[in-house]
């Protein structure tokens, strides 16, 4: 069973993603911001982290940095899912080591197939 961590501060959005990934038999973890995410990551090693950027407290970038530093999480893919869609934002995200950079608003199906593609 694949594991996914969804990190986003918008409950409505999280709800749709959670629904979609559960249907694909993912084990879904949910965090409302970076610090919550890091807390979850202490005890769990998901296959992929779906990460928003603009969040209170610890933002997406900081969360990614933490993940990259962790030996435990070296096989965990990180995918940004954010409303920030400027070219400079995308470059920055990929440079920091994200495996994919997806923008909001999104098609749920497309997100799911992207993640499945990434993990296969």
């Amino acid at each position: 069973m694949k594991k996914i961590l969804i990190v986003d501060d918008e409950p409505n959005i999280v709800m749709t993603l959670e629904y979609a990934f559960k249907k694909q038999d993912f084990e879904v973890f949910i965090a409302r911001d970076g610090s919550e995410a890091l807390h979850i990551l202490q005890n769990n090693v998901p296959d992929v982290v779906l990460l928003d950027i603009m969040m209170p407290n610890v933002d997406g970038y900081q969360t990614l940095e933490h993940i990259k530093k962790s030996e435990l999480l070296k096989n965990t893919k990180v995918v940004f899912l954010t409303a920030k869609n400027k070219v400079s934002d995308i470059e920055k995200g990929l440079k920091l080591g994200a495996d994919r950079y997806l923008t909001k608003p999104f098609s749920v199906k497309k997100i799911v197939s992207e993640i499945l593609g990434l993990l296969s």
Partner: protein, 896 residues
């Protein structure tokens, strides 16, 4: 008194003068040497033996006729001072060392003009100095009681030895430095000292004659009025002699400027311009004192002696007549003082002119270029020494040949008339930039010819042929060519007549030729510098317009030849420093040319300096219009410099303002970008929710439970509401912040608005079971936009509700009257606001991190909009710091 005794006294007296000169030279920086009194007294070199003896003679023979010679300078003084200031400034700037330098530089540094003026001055000064010798010789004769002998060997003539002593004295002090523009403090000090002596002794003898020999002025007047020809002596002049007075006054007026010795003491030796202020009243006072007793001594002499006695020496004869040898000796020494100062200063000035304007530029330059610097210095000194000796010897020759027939007074006037020929070139040239070198030369030559014809020729011919035909019948017997009555103007005295004609024609030639012919561009360049000296003095070395090619090394070589290695290098270093040029500059510019010419001018005169420099540079012709244009530009540059500085300050100010504005703009721009980014983000969030939920709902394959379907549909509705709220807020905020939103100000009752606000929010509060309290029942009216204030109150209340705990929350709405305003509070017992947020809480889209767990319902614009609304009411909104429980928001609205 014996011949030798007198000689010894003279020598002792000279030794004292030497000593004074020596001391003054040694302490040349001392206050005793540099003060306005010494300056004024040195100007009194004007009073030579001519004044000392001649005036009395003149007064005895023709009454008050001696006065104009002193009235001229006295009247001229105010004007003299004003002009002198300008002349001194120009002379200092250009290192001018004589009047020949001054005038020739004004006319484009003309070598010929300089030489001509030198010859003219020489011609004028030789008789003048011979007059002094004559006075010394004759008074020496009277004192030693031996008649003047002529025709004897000059080695038996005491006058010759006196002349020799004078020459040595003048040589010793006049040729100390090669730089002729340097000052001679020693000479000036002795001249001042002698001026005191001659005045004192003259006043003593005046008082002695008037009050000791006679019973005061009234006694003399009474006695003289009883004599036969008294009428002629005392009457004021009629119209014809009025003209005489006028012209003689004019003559002495020009002399005070133009006599080489006056130029020397007044201009070259002037150490401070402000000394002029004292001189303006002190010098006329000196002249006045000198003339007080003249008429009484003259009358006393007339009453005492018969017609055969030379009236010019009454001052000596009167005390001798009453056996007062000591007093006579004082008078003699006074006269001798007058002679020495005049001779020394005159020969000093003349020798510089002869060396710098005549001998060096005509022939000695090649020698200078080849010789070593030390040799050159001694060449220059030797030329000057020989000049001084030559002048005095020539004066002696003149004295031997002519002075028997001529009175002191008439010789003096001859000199004045000759010198006056410089007047048009000098005075007009100072104020008229068109005056040209050709005009000046022509005017001077014509004037010189005319004054020779009308003044010098008659007595010379008479002296050599013994016939007065020329005088009586005119040239070739033509009556209108009579030298003393040219074209029928025969009512003037010969000097006045000569002055009138020569100056008239001289001025005419000068003006006409200046107008008719255009001068060389160099002339016009200097003309502008002189005429507009105030403007050009600030231009300094740039005032000379020069175009061409020159190497610094060549110029330096020339400088070394005359100034020596060390001085040249020093001067050049100063120059480079002054104009901020690198010390290894190769090509010379106009400034260096001008600077070097000035440097050399001090040693060898401006004409020679120009020739020497011109020898090593390749100058290009510039057209006159171009010169004028460049000068005009430089002048403008100076005057606009001040304006520029002011403008520059303004610009700096503006620049910093602009910079500030620009920084502000950049910040604003950045803020705008951030704002737009944030809006985009905020808008995208609900859209994303709607988009994703809709997608899931539309999938018909999906067997979604009804509950889930319901949830997604509810979410879509919520997101849609959020979207529309957000859009409203953004539009609201934008309207307020750009000032497009107008307030609808009306007097409203604050209590009623409170009730409305509570009514709007009550259902939300009720759902969380939070109490909203308003205990204040005081009604108060003030003007505000009720809808807007309701918006603020609703926002604040809903914020409070948001942060209050369910069931426990209490919100207090209250107000109080402040200073000219109403203060309104919304107080709650909720979570409160952390201190670090307080400063940012009113910023748009600022959302406290404190609320992270529950996504706030607002758009992030609520408080920012509230702030805008309150500020639009000219009020203030704030949140109180340091509250222990909950948070307190307040805002105040002014009464008007």
């Amino acid at each position: 008194m014996s011949n030798y005794g007198l000689l010894i006294i003279i020598i002792v007296y000279l030794a004292i003068l030497f000593y004074i000169a020596f001391i003054a030279e040694k302490n040349s920086k001392s206050k005793w040497v540099n003060n306005p009194y010494v300056y004024t007294l040195s100007l009194a070199v004007y009073c030579s033996a001519w004044t000392y003896y001649g005036s009395v003679g003149m007064a005895a023979n023709s009454g008050v006729g001696f006065l104009p010679i002193y009235l001229g300078p006295a009247i001229a003084i105010p004007l003299w001072i004003v002009l002198l200031r300008k002349i001194i400034r120009i002379s200092k700037q250009h290192k001018i060392s004589s009047i020949a330098d001054f005038i020739s530089l004004r006319y484009g540094n003309s070598r010929f003009l300089g030489a001509l003026i030198t010859i003219l001055c020489f011609t004028a000064m030789v008789p003048y100095i011979s007059l002094q010798l004559k006075a010394v010789a004759e008074t020496f004769g009277i004192m030693a009681n031996e008649p003047n002998k002529f025709g004897i060997s000059i080695f038996d003539d005491s006058t010759f030895y006196i002349a020799l002593i004078l020459a040595i004295f003048a040589t010793f002090f006049g040729t100390q430095a090669t730089d002729a523009s340097e000052k001679h403090k020693g000479i000036v000090a002795t001249v001042a000292f002698e001026s005191i002596l001659k005045l004192t002794f003259f006043l003593i003898i005046g008082a002695y004659v008037t009050y000791y020999l006679f019973d005061g002025t009234e006694d003399i007047y009474e006695q003289i009025s009883n004599t036969a020809n008294f009428e002629n002596l005392s009457k004021l002049p009629d119209l014809e002699s009025g003209f005489n007075w006028f012209f003689i006054m004019m003559l002495s007026f020009t002399a005070i400027f133009l006599l080489p010795r006056q130029f020397q003491v007044a201009v070259i030796e002037n150490s401070r311009e402000k000394h002029l202020k004292k001189a303006i009243w002190l010098f006329p006072l000196y002249l006045f004192l000198f003339n007080i007793f003249v008429i009484f001594i003259a009358w006393a002499g007339k009453l005492t002696f018969d017609e055969t006695v030379n009236a010019e020496y009454y001052t000596l004869l009167l005390p001798l007549n009453s056996d007062n040898t000591f007093l006579a000796l004082l008078v003699f020494l006074g006269g001798f003082s007058a002679v020495i100062s005049m001779v020394v200063v005159s020969t000093l000035a003349l020798s510089k002119m002869i060396s710098n304007n005549l001998i060096i530029p005509y022939g000695f330059l090649d020698k200078f270029v080849k010789a070593k610097p030390e040799q050159n210095a001694s060449y220059i000194k030797n030329i000057r020494r020989i000049s001084i000796f030559t002048i005095i010897i020539l004066a002696y020759v003149f004295y031997i040949n002519f002075s028997i027939e001529l009175s002191l007074y008439s010789i003096g006037l001859i000199s004045f008339v000759i010198i006056a020929q410089l007047a048009p070139s000098f005075f007009i040239g100072l104020f008229w930039n068109r005056g040209s070198s050709l005009a000046s030369i022509t005017g001077i030559i014509v004037g010189l010819i005319l004054s020779t014809y009308t003044l010098i020729l008659p007595f010379t011919i008479e002296a050599f042929t013994g016939s007065s035909d020329f005088t009586d019948f005119g040239l070739f017997g033509i009556a209108i060519l009579k030298p003393y009555g040219l074209f029928g103007i025969d009512f003037l005295s010969p000097p006045a007549h000569a002055f009138f004609w020569s100056i008239l024609v001289n001025t005419f030639c000068y003006v006409v030729i200046s107008l008719a012919f255009r001068g060389h561009y160099r002339e016009r360049n200097y003309a502008e510098m002189f005429v507009d000296s105030k403007n050009f003095s600030s231009l300094q070395d740039s005032a000379l317009v020069w175009k061409g090619e020159a190497y610094v090394a060549d110029i330096k070589n020339v400088l070394i030849k005359l100034l020596g290695e060390a001085r040249s290098q020093h001067a050049l270093n100063l120059f480079f420093k002054k104009y901020d040029l690198p010390s290894d500059t190769q090509m010379a510019d106009a400034r260096l040319i001008n600077f070097s010419e000035k440097l050399l001018t001090g040693s060898i005169g401006s004409a020679s300096a120009k020739i020497l420099i011109a020898g090593v540079v390749k100058e290009q012709e510039i057209s006159l219009p171009e010169v004028l244009k460049i000068l005009e530009e430089s002048k403008d540059a100076i005057s606009s410099n001040k304006v520029l500085r002011e403008k520059s300050a303004e610009l700096t100010d503006l620049t910093s303002q602009l910079k500030h504005a620009n920084e502000e703009l950049i910040t604003k721009d950045k803020q705008k970008d951030e704002f737009l980014d944030t809006i985009a983000h905020e808008l995208k969030t609900p859209i994303t929710g709607i988009r994703a939920a809709s997608e899931l709902l539309i999938d018909e394959d999906d067997d979604m439970s009804t509950d889930t379907r319901q949830t997604f549909l509810k979410n879509i509705m919520g997101d849609s509401d959020r979207l529309s709220r957000l859009i409203n807020d953004i539009l609201d905020f934008e309207k307020l912040s750009t000032g497009r939103q107008q307030l609808n100000l009306k007097k409203r009752n604050i209590q009623r608005t409170f009730k409305k606000a509570i009514g709007n929010i009550q259902h939300i509060a009720a759902s969380k079971e939070i109490k909203i309290v308003n205990n204040n029942s005081f009604n108060f009216e003030l003007p505000y936009d009720e809808d807007r204030i309701l918006q603020v109150l609703t926002n604040l209340l809903s914020n409070s509700i948001k942060f209050c705990e369910q069931k426990k929350g209490v919100i207090i709405l209250d107000y109080k009257l402040g200073n000219n305003c109403v203060e309104i509070y919304v107080k709650d017992n909720g979570r409160g606001i952390p201190d670090e947020d307080i400063n940012y809480i009113f910023d748009k889209f600022y959302q406290s991190e404190n609320q992270n767990t529950i996504k706030p319902q607002g758009s992030g614009l609520g408080l920012a909009i509230s702030k805008q609304i309150i500020e639009k009411h000219k009020g203030k909104i704030w949140v109180e710091k340091g509250t222990k429980v909950g948070s307190t928001f307040g805002f105040k609205l002014p009464f008007s």
